[in-house]
């Protein structure tokens, strides 16, 4: 440990005042320059010490851990804090959190690294530097304590937020030495604990962010308020790509509470009023004329035809190729073939899109939800015309997101509205109808699978052709390469986080890109959802075609994929695959690797009089390490709502160029009464860090579809199954 650096430490001490701390009701109170009372005097506690960027210690031993990634329900906030606290050796019962803002992150040289939260990366993408941050802070506190007690560091131990000198038994707390600790510079790399030594990581601790969700006091973006704030409710052309021709502001200007009727940009208009209700009423009454553009007549049938052409297109991007599947299939007289499809989906997160923006000529700030704080800041700067250094995004915990707020369209919109009313904070709130119409939709795809079996009944050749929309071509065109969309083959890749788990001697997985005017986006599980459905249902078809048990058929293809296989077997054991199911009950199974984790599911279903009943699902997952098992359980069980809603009910269709579904009455999602019993098996084999939020979604639907076949002999290749007649 180096000797203290005696630079003035006030700067870092003061910087924490601008942070948002847990447990506050008046979220905006101290993060902005308005002079209304702070919710708790403790915020002004200048005695609190920033030990390092991630860790603030207060004199009363409260440890505040800073959270740079976004909490949107997935529980990452608690897991991230556990990772820091594990190495810090603090008292977990004294841990609180505060959220990092991207402007501050930028001004401090990205000391909090990447804040973007998607791709099930919050934990696995942060764990190394967070554990290191905890360890380095511990080293600083230890050094300060040793100096304070005038004893050698080597004779001291840290436990539960206290540093104890072994020989004398004397001890000091983190709060007592934090200020002094700040002057020490720890080594660049402090050795981390071996996972076997973890006492907090891997344990079922309660979430840190529950209390204010139980009494209504958590301020979400929709709840945020500032003095003098107005509310804007926007509407964009319902046909994506269309434009706003004109609107008659005079018709609504005298309605109660209406302050402004504004053109936001080429495609949207907004009513600004004193309340949401006044703004919405006026917007509903506002005469608007759209130029719906060339897509005004497009229907789901047109899109289906476009995609179907791609199924047999000669040219395609290749994602995975072994041997010569095309030739083997051409030479075979027994080709098994099936076409599948998966529709558009809306995220339908419970909190509709919103953002509060205050703009003046020197500063532009946003309070609201985003999964990509850095992009939101860049959007704010671009839309306001101010440099990023004069902008800030006050991040918040989000009312569900599932990928929708990886896009910043609504941030731009809110900024363009606020920019027209300088000095006045404006909270832009979308209606559910706007949220349904202007989503960033789970892409629509179709798939043609063709295969032939060898004399040994094993899979000899397989060609999987995906045709449909590319998210990346729309959302991140800069990432498109000569091999096309880099994420289109999730779960089918030759290797890596999304590696295919079967050995097929002749394999071709390819993709014909067919983009539509409907704007696509990253929807929890992304392309893994439909890829796993297509592959796992077709593998089931092949198993039945070869008169082989679907589990055994898979196992034979998986000898070189032991980690995939272990999870598959865990799911099979969990459901009791080797036992005879009750009469009328069918079992199905599916596996995939996605977002760095191996997952599998097995389902038991019955169909009575055309009505499907899902009795039971067993989900197995191997994410390598598990930080908080009870939260992994919540994620996996909860993910089935996202996996099974599209299987049972939900789809977005296109009519007259626009999304037909407008709210939860026609975009139906799972309810409590639909929720099957989900048994979660966590197989944490260690040695790698996989994601948890997304992968298991993908195995839900194919496991159930395969179980439906086992129960009824009916093969469903198009979801949602509400469109299929299970009686037929």
């Amino acid at each position: 440990m180096k000797k203290p650096d005696l630079r003035d430490s006030t700067q870092t001490t003061l910087s924490r005042r601008s942070f948002l701390k847990s447990g506050t009701v008046a979220a905006g109170a101290f993060v902005f320059g308005f002079s209304f009372p702070l919710a708790r005097p403790a915020f002004a506690n200048a005695e609190a010490t920033e030990v390092n960027a991630w860790i603030v210690v207060e004199p009363d031993d409260t440890v505040i851990i800073r959270i740079a990634r976004i909490e949107m329900g997935q529980g990452a906030l608690t897991g991230l804090a556990q990772l820091v606290a594990e190495e810090l050796e603090c008292d977990w019962s004294r841990v609180q959190f505060e959220l990092v803002k991207p402007g501050e992150n930028l001004s401090r040289g990205k000391v909090w690294q990447n804040q973007s939260t998607g791709g099930s990366r919050a934990i696995r993408g942060s764990q190394a530097y967070l554990r290191q941050a905890g360890a380095r802070a511990r080293a600083m506190l230890l050094a300060a304590a040793a100096e304070d007690m005038n004893v050698p560091e080597a004779e001291c131990e840290v436990h539960q937020g206290r540093i104890t000198h072994g020989p004398s038994g004397r001890s000091v707390s983190f709060g007592q030495v934090a200020h002094a600790a700040q002057r020490f510079t720890p080594p660049e790399e402090v050795p981390l604990k071996d996972p076997s030594e973890w006492t907090l990581v891997g344990k079922d601790v309660k979430r840190l962010d529950t209390r204010d969700k139980l009494n209504g006091s958590l301020v979400y973006g929709m709840d945020f308020t500032l003095p003098g704030m107005l509310v804007a409710v926007p509407k964009a052309c319902p046909v994506h790509g269309g434009t706003l021709k004109q609107f008659n502001a005079e018709a609504v200007k005298s309605m109660p509470g209406v302050k402004h009727v504004l053109r936001v940009d080429d495609e949207s208009v907004a009513v600004v009023a004193d309340t949401f209700w006044h703004a919405k009423k006026a917007l509903d009454a506002l005469p608007i004329e759209w130029d719906e553009g060339p897509n005004a007549t497009v229907s789901s049938d047109d899109i289906a035809k476009l995609l179907a052409e791609g199924l047999s297109d000669e040219t395609a991007y290749i994602g995975n190729q072994i041997g010569d599947a095309k030739t083997v299939l051409a030479d075979s007289d027994q080709v098994i073939e099936a076409d599948y499809q998966y529709p558009f989906q809306n995220h339908a997160q419970m909190e509709p899109l919103c953002a509060t923006v205050r703009f003046d000529e020197n500063r532009c700030e946003m309070w609201g939800p985003t999964q990509v704080p850095e992009s939101a800041l860049a959007t704010l700067a671009e839309a306001s015309g101010l440099p990023q250094t004069q902008c800030e995004v006050h991040t918040m915990r989000i009312g569900g997101s599932f990928g929708r707020r990886l896009a910043t369209d609504y941030v731009k919109q809110a900024t363009l509205i606020a920019k027209q009313i300088p000095g006045t904070p404006v909270k832009m709130m979308w209606t559910r109808e706007e949220d349904m119409a202007q989503g960033r939709f789970h892409p629509v795809t179709q798939c043609r699978l063709r295969a032939t079996l060898g004399e040994d009944k094993n899979l000899k050749a397989l060609h999987m052709r995906i045709s449909g929309q590319s998210i990346m071509a729309y959302a991140m065109p800069q990432a498109m390469g000569p091999s096309g969309d880099p994420i289109i083959f999730q779960g089918l890749d030759p290797e890596g986080d999304m590696a295919f788990g079967y050995s097929v001697p002749n394999l071709l997985v390819d993709y014909a890109m067919r983009n539509t005017h409907i704007r696509p986006g990253f929807w929890r599980g992304v392309n893994l959802n439909q890829n796993a459905l297509y592959m796992e249902c077709f593998i089931d078809e092949l198993a039945h075609a070869s008169d082989t048990d679907p589990l055994v058929f898979r196992q034979r293809l998986m000898a070189k994929h032991p980690q995939h296989l272990a999870v598959l077997n865990a799911a099979a054991d969990g459901i009791g695959w080797d036992t005879t199911p009750p009469k009328g009950v069918g079992r199905g199974i599916a596996q995939v690797k996605g977002f760095g984790s191996y997952v599998a599911a097995a389902a038991e279903v019955s169909v009575d009089n055309g009505t499907l009943k899902i009795h039971r699902i067993v989900a197995a997952t191997d994410p390598g390490y598990v930080v908080n098992p009870q939260q992994v359980e919540a994620q996996v069980a909860g993910s089935f709502v996202y996996g099974l809603s599209p299987l049972l009910y939900s789809e977005c269709t296109v009519e007259s160029g626009r999304i037909k579904q407008s709210n939860f009455h026609d975009y139906r999602v799972m309810l409590l009464q639909d929720m099957p019993e989900v048994e979660v098996i966590t197989v944490a084999t260690g040695g790698f860090w996989g994601g948890v939020g997304e992968p298991t979604i993908a195995v839900a639907a194919p496991a159930v579809l395969n179980a439906i076949f086992a129960a009824t002999g009916k093969r469903i290749r198009s979801v949602p199954i509400k469109n299929s007649d299970l009686m037929a």
Partner: protein
Amino acid sequence: MKLTVNGVQREVDVEGDTPLLWVLREELGLTGTKFGCGIAVCGACTVHIDGVAQRSCALPVSLLQASQKITTIEGLAENADHPVQQAWAELDVPQCGYCQSGMMMAAASLLSQNPSPSEAQIRSHITNICRCGTYPRVLKGVQIASEHLANKGAAPQNEKA
């Protein structure tokens, strides 16, 4: 007009067609009750009116009488210690939490009418939408709250009427 909210009589000056949700949120500052759909489907806006769960987002405030007792999540219990809130804390039920005010209000209403609901009754009675997928813990939470109530030997009485 006058409203009785969480045991306190409040005077609000709004148009009669304003849904109760927006009176609570924008006039009275009670933002614990959430906006989710605006068509009384998702249940994020669930409050109690005279002890019974109602969706507030499509309920014109003019239909309410000053004598009717409106209870929001903020007034469900002193110190947020209603058996449902306690069970929710015990099980870490909320994920994003946005639907949970409504979910807990629906659960509390169910238990006040039927202190020992069967699993099937819980499933059919609670029709609130949760997109994070907290349903398994919601189910268990209602069951645990029901057990707490049975141990206390009484239905919840601590609502700020």
